[in-house]
C-alpha cells in the first residue's frame, strides 16, 4: 500500500540542522493497523505529516499504491489529500462554526457529491463512530472524545486508502481514549481500514497489529503484536 525508502527530513541548515528523519524505510500493507512509537522528538509527527502529504521530504522516496507521491504538484496533492488520505489531528482540528455533520460532509461536497448524498455519507460515517444522534451539535457542545470521533468520521467518510492519526488520544482521559481506540479497532477489523497511528502510550499497543519504534529519526524496532 505505502512504501517509504530512505526518507529524510531536515529542518534548518548548517550547524543547526535538525535531522528529524534520517533515512527511514518501511512498508505498510493494506488492512494493517500500525502504531508508530518513540520518545518525544524522535520524528513521529514529521513522518506522519510527510505521509499525509502535508509536508515535503528533504530526500528519499514515498509511494502510495506504486505512485510516487513525494514530488506531486500541489493541486494533485490537494486532490490526494481529499480523496485518498484521512488525517486525524491531535487537537481534533474541527471547524468550530460547523456542526458535526457539516464538518464531515464538507469533504463530500468538495468531491462534487450532491448535498443530500453528502449528508447521507456524513451520517453513515458518524454512525460508524457512534455519534449519529449528535450530528447537529457544534464542537463546543461535544466532549473531547466525541470531537475526536467526529474528526475520525471526517477522515473516514471519504473511505480513504489510508488513515493517519497523530497522537489522537493525547488530550483525552482514559475512558475517552478507549472509545476512540475502539472506533479505530472497529474500522480496522470490520472495514479493513488501513491505519497508521502515532502514540506513546504503551497500553495502546493492545489495539494494533504492528509497532514501529523510532529513535532520533531512525527506525529502531518493527514488531508484530501477538493477538491476546
Amino acid at each position: 500500500m505505502i512504501r517509504v525508502k530512505d526518507l529524510k527530513r531536515y529542518y534548518g541548515s548548517g550547524a543547526t540542522t535538525v535531522r528529524a528523519l534520517n533515512g527511514v524505510s518501511f512498508e505498510i500493507r493494506k488492512g494493517e493497523f500500525v502504531a508508530i512509537m518513540g520518545a518525544s522528538g524522535s520524528g513521529k509527527t514529521t513522518l506522519l505529516r510527510i505521509l499525509a502529504l502535508l509536508d515535503d521530504a528533504t530526500g528519499g522516496e514515498y509511494t502510495i499504491r506504486g505512485l510516487k507521491v513525494s514530488r506531486l504538484p500541489e493541486a494533485e496533492r490537494s486532490y490526494y489529500r481529499l480523496t485518498q488520505v484521512g488525517y486525524v489531528f491531535q487537537d481534533y482540528a474541527l471547524i468550530n462554526e460547523m456542526t458535526a455533520a457539516e464538518n464531515v460532509y464538507i469533504l463530500s461536497m468538495m468531491e462534487g457529491k450532491s448535498k443530500k448524498e453528502s449528508y447521507r455519507t456524513a451520517l453513515e460515517a458518524l454512525d460508524k463512530v457512534g455519534l449519529k444522534d449528535k450530528h447537529d451539535r457544534v464542537p463546543d457542545e461535544l466532549s473531547g472524545g466525541e470531537k475526536q470521533r467526529v474528526a475520525i468520521a471526517r477522515a473516514i467518510a471519504k473511505k480513504p486508502d489510508i488513515m493517519f492519526a497523530d497522537e489522537p488520544c493525547a488530550n483525552l482521559d482514559t475512558i475517552n481514549s478507549e472509545q476512540v481506540l475502539e472506533v479505530f479497532k472497529d474500522l480496522n477489523d470490520n472495514y479493513g481500514q488501513t491505519i497508521v497511528m502515532v502514540t506513546h502510550e504503551p497500553w495502546h499497543v493492545k489495539y494494533v497489529d504492528r509497532v514501529i519504534t523510532f529513535k532520533d529519526g531512525v527506525v529502531v524496532g518493527d514488531e508484530w503484536v501477538e493477538e491476546q
Partner: protein
Amino acid sequence: MIDDIRVGALIAASSIKRGNKKTLIFIVFVLSLIFMNLVFLPSMIGGMTVLFTGFMQDYPYGDIVIEPTGDNTYINNADNVLQKVRAVEGVRAATKRLDVGASVEHKQKVVGVTVTGVLPTEEYEISRYPYIIKEGDFLGELSRDEIIIGSIISGTSTSFGEIYDDLGEARVGSLVDVTYSNGVKRTYKVKGIMEATFELVDLNAMVHYKEIEEVYGLDVGEATSVVVRIDEAGTEEQMKVKIREAGVNEQVFTWADKSEALIRQAMQSLGAIDVMSKFVGLIVGAALILIIIYINILNRKKEIGILKAIGITPGSIVLSYAFLSMFYVSLGIFAGMVLYLSLMIYFQANPVIFYETMKIRPQIDPMLLIQSIVTMLTLSVIAGTLPAWSVSKESILKAIWGR
C-alpha cells in the same frame, strides 16, 4: 468550480450563522460608518449647491434669462421680446430689468453697488425681491424718488456685516445720494431694506425701471435682461428652444447655464473639498475594509490550514472569504443606508443653518449612492480575496502550527 462555490458558500454560511456575533456587529458598524463617510459630506455639499442655485433662480436669473447679443449693452427691443416670450406656451411670467453701476452715499460714507431698475408690480410674479423686505416696503408703480437697498450696504446685515463696507446709518426714510456710472446724481429716500442672506442681493440696490431709463436717456424698450419664469421646473432646456423658435434672437440662457459659471467659481473650493472628501473617504474606506477583513482572516489562519489539510481547495477557501466580506459589506451598506436616510430625514426637518438664515438641507443623490455601493462591494471582494488568497498560498504546516 461549481464545487468550489458550493463549498465556499457552506464555509461562509456556517461562519456567519455560528460565528462571533459581537465581531459581526462591530465589523458591520464600522463598515456602515465608512459608507456614511462616503455619502454624507457630498450630500451636504449637494444641499449647498441646491441652495445656491435656488438663489440664482429667485433673484438674478429666473428660470430663463435673455441677454443682449455680442458686445451690446442693451436688448434694444425688449418689449417686443417680452411680447414674444409671453406668448410661448409654458411661460408663466416675464419682465425686463436694467442693471447699472453706481455709488451710494450717506453721511460721507460711500459704497459701490449695482442698481437694478425693475418694474415693481411685475416682480411679484418673477422674483422673491418683493418678499424679502425686512424693513419698510417694496417699490410701487409710483416710486420714482425711492430706493430699496440691500441689508449689507445699509449696515443692518447680521450675517455679512463685518465683511463689507456699509453706509452705517442708512435706514428706512433716510436720504441717500446715488451717483450713476454716467455721472448723473440723484437723491432717493430709502423705502425698504431687502435681505436674502445672499451677497448678490444684499449688496445691491433697486429703483424703478423708469428711473434708469431717464438717467441714461434710453429709448423705450431697452433692457439689460429679460427674466422669464416657466410653469414646469425641469423643462428649462425645452423652453429655451421654444423661446428661440418664437423668434427671439438675443442670447437665451437657463438659470443652470448662468449659475454653472458662477457656481464653478463660487463652488470651486467647495467642489475641491467634495472631490477630496470622496477620495479620502474611499482610500480610508478601502484601507479599513482591507484591515478588518485581513485581521478576521489572520484570526482564522489555522482554520484555513485545517481546511487545506483535509483537502478543501484553496479556490473554495478564497471564495468563502469573498462571500463573507460581501456579506459583511452588504450588511454594512444596509446599516449605513438606514443611518444615512435617518440623518437625511432629520436634516430635512432640521436644516443646518448657515449665516443664521441660510437653511441647508442635504440632497440625496441616487447616482452617488449607487456609486458608493458599487465601490464598496468591489472593494469588499478585493479586500476579501487578496488576504485569503495570500494565506491560502501559505504552507499548511505554517498555517496550522505556525512553523
